[in-house]
């Protein structure tokens, strides 16, 4: 059996300025190289046919040196798949965007290409075939919260073929929506809007509604969560096995008792906007203090919102609510006088037209702030500062309505302790990625819909719910999951029970399992908990691998030994005369940035050697030190922007820690910490990469030979003393 891999070298229609003769000759000399094929169009039909032939030469090992794998890999995978061939052992080397297109000197670019091909050969040698696996999980989802978002999610999931249990803390479902007298822009009451869904819910045999039920905590993982809850008919905590969790616990209105100037809680005629909504819904439009009619109303916007003391951001809905409620008041009492004191009126899209209508119907808008509310002779007094007229006004309204901030409901933080989703500073559930991944949370199998993620209008909450049902359907596949098991694989025997992987996995995949039947002679040596990783749940970032002290968890497509032998091979012959900068780049935003640099034909020094990793978090301190051990002069990690990790979590923060520690080590042993650094990038700003690589190449030159180059490495203990 052979460990050699065939190599396909693509010329891109003879348009790449590389020395193909040199490459062919040099590659043929390499121990790990099998046949070398130069082809003009790897991506066209003839190229695909050639690839299909080559894949059979060495147990599916193959190195393809061509343009960016980001473009051709999907086509090649698909073609091979249609022939029933294995494409999982192919390694790609980008000799176009990462070499020929960005370096002027063809011989330098050819040298760089050769080094990277040598690296890929080393990686492929020890690769494994990655196959499809199946697993069955209960086709059951638990929805927490019976407001409109929760109910709509339950209905959507049921329509998609899932069994749903809907748990609601209160005695009836409906949440806030049923308390609203009008829902913009429909003009209908919340009850009317909710009624058809209520009916659908009652008729749906796949949905089990549990009211008066409070979820205490949830443990487990996607496909196998265990929800602990208490229900009224039983004092004991009960559990329910479920495959996924929908958080739909909604919002609560801020109660501004601590803001002295409004006298809320002291004066019964000072109410919040939601309290006014309830008064309108229940047709109680009288002064709470004495039951007299309401004629004069002052509404105060941004109470607790847009304030450094309470909630910094805008609550989005309250301007529209205030206008809806003003119109509703005028509807019932055309003689009423409503004044709205505001900073900015914020009404999106067609709600602007309702704002205009309210002005035409006489609602008075005063730009300014309330400076004081007080009581005198059983009347409520309000002092308003009008910033347009720059003067103070005083009125004596029957009702002061505070448009109070919208906050996440209680209990989200507690549930996150075991569920591990992330929260925003304002306490709402954080999106996995703000631009594209609403409703998804950091934890796989947990979605959040409606106002628990941000203040939302009813129609937005409904959209959220429908979208989240699809997100879960994409994860659960109706209970029969069949997919390629590409990701972390744990060797339990090597696990030392440190729980680093479970703490740091961005998606909460590793679980610590109690070793109940561990038989150890020595009690003190016994490992009580060991990790368990379901590869099918894994996001393949490699964070756990870079942190694991015993190498127990490793990505099945990039083991430690694979990456180390690649590093060694890439750096073969690296010395101080041509100082080499190694760049580990994540195959997400960083590969894109580097590819776009290529497409734009931006130049950078050819002494760079690029090594792909799935996520920056895959790079460990040892990987960095290995690069120096084999002759690198400087090492950088290219990663996505802070808080924009593709995996949705913390991969690049972990990488930053590795870099910081590596720098401390280098400083401690007298190697100069500046030899390693981390850079963040995305493709809209390609010069982030070229600037970074120039800086690291400059440092490589300025810092001079490393102890490895000088042959003094290993004697650092003396150097420190």
């Amino acid at each position: 059996m052979t460990n050699k891999s065939p190599v396909l070298l693509c010329t891109c229609g003879k348009q790449l300025k590389l020395d193909y003769d040199y490459l062919e000759t040099e590659i043929s000399k390499l121990d790990l190289a099998g046949s070398v094929t130069v082809h003009d169009f790897g991506c066209q039909d003839s190229g695909l046919e050639t690839i299909a032939e080559l894949i059979g030469e060495s147990e599916a090992r193959l190195v393809i040196a061509a343009c960016t794998s980001q473009k051709i890999q999907p086509r090649i995978d698909q073609y091979l798949q249609s022939l029933g061939k294995d494409s999982s052992r192919i390694a790609y080397v980008n000799i176009r965007e990462h070499s020929a297109w960005v370096h002027k000197d063809p011989s330098e670019a050819s040298k760089k290409s050769l080094d990277m091909i040598r690296g890929a050969l080393a990686r492929v040698e020890d690769s494994k075939s990655i196959v499809s696996e199946t697993k069955e999980i209960p086709n059951h989802v638990t929805v927490i919260g019976g407001g409109i978002a929760g109910v709509e999610t339950a209905l959507s999931l049921s329509n998609l073929g899932y069994r749903v249990t809907l748990m609601e803390r209160e005695s009836s479902i409906g949440g806030h929506v049923v308390q609203l007298p009008v829902i913009a822009p429909t003009g209908k009451s919340g009850k009317e809007i909710f009624s058809s869904r209520l009916k659908a819910l009652e008729n749906d045999k796949n949905i089990d509604v549990m009211t008066n039920t409070t979820v205490k905590f949830i443990e487990g993982e996607m496909g196998d969560f265990l929800a602990h809850y208490i229900s009224p008919d039983d004092e004991d905590e009960k559990t329910l096995q479920t495959s996924a969790i929908v958080l739909a616990t909604g919002f609560k209105e801020f109660k501004p008792t601590m803001i002295d100037e409004y006298h809320y809680g002291k004066n019964p005629d000072v109410v919040t906007q939601l309290e006014l909504s309830r008064m309108l819904t229940e047709d109680r439009m009288v002064r709470p203090s004495d039951g007299k009619p309401v004629n004069e109303v002052v509404m105060v916007q941004c109470v607790g919102s847009r304030s450094e003391d309470y909630k910094r951001d805008c609550s989005k809905l309250c301007c529209t609510f205030a206008i809806d409620n003003s119109l509703e008041i005028l509807e019932r009492n055309p003689d009423a006088n409503v004044q709205v004191v505001y900073m900015d009126i914020r009404v999106p899209f067609e709600n602007e037209m309702i704002y205009k209508e309210s002005r035409e119907r006489g609602v008075d808008y005063i730009r300014g702030r309330i400076s004081m509310v007080w009581e005198n002779d059983n009347t409520t007094h309000v002092r308003i500062y009008d910033s347009l007229l720059n003067q103070y006004l005083e009125t004596t309204p029957d009702l002061v309505v505070l448009s109070s901030a919208i906050l996440p409901s209680d209990g989200v933080a507690e549930l996150s302790e075991t569920l591990g989703y992330a929260l925003e500073e304002d306490g709402h559930v954080k999106d996995l990625y703000g631009k594209l991944r609403r409703t998804e949370t950091r934890r796989r199998g947990v979605v959040a819909v409606g106002a628990i993620t941000r203040p939302q209008f009813v129609f937005e909450a409904v959209t959220d719910a429908q979208a989240a049902a699809l997100v879960l359907h994409n994860e659960l596949h109706g209970g029969k999951i069949e997919k390629v098991a590409r990701g972390a694989v744990l060797n339990v025997d090597d696990c030392v029970g440190c729980s680093l992987c479970a703490q740091q996995c961005p998606r909460g995949v590793p679980l610590m399992i109690e070793q109940t039947d561990a038989e150890e002679e020595d009690e003190a040596q016994k490992i009580l908990f060991k990790a368990a990783i379901d590869t099918l749940n894994c996001h393949s970032c490699g964070v756990c691998q870079s942190l694991c002290p015993s190498g127990a968890t490793q990505l099945n497509f990039l083991s430690n030994s694979q990456l180390w032998s690649e590093i060694e091979a890439v750096l073969e012959g690296a010395d101080h005369e041509y100082p080499i900068t190694v760049c580990f780049y994540c195959e997400e935003c960083s590969v894109s940035t580097i590819d776009i640099v290529g497409t734009q034909r931006m130049e950078y020094p050819a002494s760079s050697r690029l090594i792909p990793v799935p996520c920056a978090g895959r790079v460990s301190i040892i990987d960095i030190l290995k690069a120096f051990e084999h002759g690198a002069s400087t090492v950088m990690i290219a990663a996505c922007e802070k808080d924009r990790c593709h995996i949705g979590g913390t991969g690049n923060e972990i990488a930053q820690v590795q870099i910081d520690v590596a720098r401390d080590i280098l400083n401690a042993i007298g190697w100069k910490g500046e030899r390693v650094d981390m850079y963040r990038m995305f493709s809209a700003e390609p010069d982030r990469f070229t600037n970074a690589i120039r800086e690291m190449v400059k440092r490589a030159q300025e810092l001079g030979p490393t102890p490895v180059h000088k042959g003094t490495a290993g004697k650092w203990m003396e150097a420190v003393e």
Partner: protein, 427 residues
């Protein structure tokens, strides 16, 4: 393990047509395809991605505009347009330079007549080798992020070089004699994802747009700020290429205005402040002022308001009454300040209009031919009482800008909701 019995009756239905391949349309198509639904995705342009391709950086994440949500088999991994492999996805039939000519039939079996423009460059064959772009001005790469990753051909710039490129193209990707064709397809559902269009405010006299070169729109500003653009991201005056030292932005141009669009365009305050933030922090500290009626940075977008105020951006509440150009390229802008109750004069290098977002050209035709509701010219929901914003009619759905001004996260969420509804109807 419990396996619950669930009765699933699979209704086999035909393919879905997605009209418009911006962020919303692409997301819908990929999600449908991943769920084994055959999808025909059309766009009238040669490059898909829609407005996003021209907008540089996006709120709320302040990274690129050029990605959308990945797919089921690699869950959650977002895809830059350039690596989205839309022409290689098994269930997606992508048709570029294609528009809808007519729709007939009934919900569930729509007959759609498509006008397919000349396919001069075969996107599967083009490798971006650069030979033709070197040989002729008629070929160009719309954007390094374009999808499909192929050059575009502009017949209006045809020259001898183009002929030669056709012969020399290493993969034979070029066919200059390609012509327009027509075809009729049968689809069971239609998804409208035709987006929005930024109004060109040349009819509003007081701003001088279209006459004064240093008066531009926010979309044009985004292109100036783009490091991949002509000026490599430097802020230069269109009139003479001089460095811009002061910028003024005017909000609600054509929006909240009975003469143009009575609605609020919803996102222009946020993207104006996003641009103000980039300029004041990342472009050699040019001075920025913003003339507004209300600043509408909803929800967490309030951050941009805080940050720009902290960065020294000046906010003037009022309206612009007049703009005059000087010989030296600067502009005099007269503003009525409603807080100070005074007329003020500002001298600026660049005036940026936050112009209304209007429905795209074909929106009205689609709405009338399918008998949909209109929301100020955008696609309205079929039954407002249901609060199902994405359901536009029987077997007709809409998402993204097609439903009214929307930000990217909303567009993606709506696209997913559409796919959810379609799949729900098929189970």
């Amino acid at each position: 393990m419990i396996i619950y019995p669930v009765e699933v009756i699979l209704v086999v239905t035909g393919p879905v047509l997605v009209i418009g391949a911006g962020v919303a349309g692409m997301t819908a198509a990929v999600e449908l395809a991943d769920n084994d639904v055959k999808t025909i995705l059309i766009d009238r342009k040669t490059t898909i991605g829609g407005n996003a391709l021209e907008l540089y950086k996006a709120f709320p994440t302040d990274d690129c505009f050029y990605c959308f949500e990945g797919n089921r088999w690699r869950p959650g991994i977002r895809k830059c347009f350039y690596r989205s492999a839309m022409i290689d996805q098994p269930n997606i039939d992508l048709k570029i330079s294609t528009r809808v000519k007519g729709i007939s039939g009934t919900p569930g079996t729509f007959l759609v007549n498509l006008e397919v423009g000349p396919q001069y460059v075969d996107p599967r064959k083009c490798t971006l080798c650069g030979l033709c772009t070197d040989a002729s001005e008629a070929f160009h790469l719309v954007s390094p992020q374009c999808q499909p990753q192929a050059v575009s051909y502009n017949p209006e710039r045809a020259d001898d070089g183009a002929k030669k490129a056709e012969e020399d193209c290493p993969t034979g990707a070029i066919n200059l004699s390609a012509t327009q064709t027509e075809e009729t397809i049968t689809v069971s559902d239609i998804v409208i994802a035709t987006g929005y269009h930024e109004m060109k405010p040349s009819t509003i006299d007081e701003y001088g747009y279209g006459k004064l070169p240093n008066v531009i729109t926010q979309l044009e500003l985004a292109q100036m700020l783009d490091p991949n653009g002509e000026s490599s991201g430097a802020l230069l005056r269109p009139s003479d290429g001089a460095q811009v030292k002061s910028v003024m932005m005017i909000q609600c141009v054509g929006s909240r205005d009975e003469n143009y669009y009575p609605f609020c365009s919803k996102i222009c305050c946020v993207f104006a402040l996003k641009h103000a933030s980039i300029i004041s922090k990342e472009r050699n500290n040019s001075r920025v002022s913003v003339v507004y009626m209300d600043i509408r940075t909803y929800d967490r977008h309030e951050r941009y308001y805080r940050e720009t105020r902290d960065a020294g951006v000046e906010f003037v509440r009022g309206r612009v009454s007049r703009v005059e150009a000087h010989k030296d390229g600067t502009l005099d802008v007269y503003v009525y300040d409603s807080l100070l109750n005074k007329y003020l004069k500002f001298v600026v290098d660049l005036l940026v209009l936050s112009s209304a977002l209007e429905p795209p050209e074909a929106s009205n035709e689609l709405i009338s031919s399918l008998g949909l509701n209109s929301a100020s010219g955008y696609v309205g929901s079929a039954d407002p009482l249901s609060e199902n914003e994405v359901v536009a009619g029987d077997h007709v759905y809409a998402c993204g800008g097609a439903l009214g001004p929307a930000e990217v996260p909303e567009s993606v969420n709506q696209a997913r909701a559409v796919v959810s509804k379609i799949l729900q109807g098929r189970k």
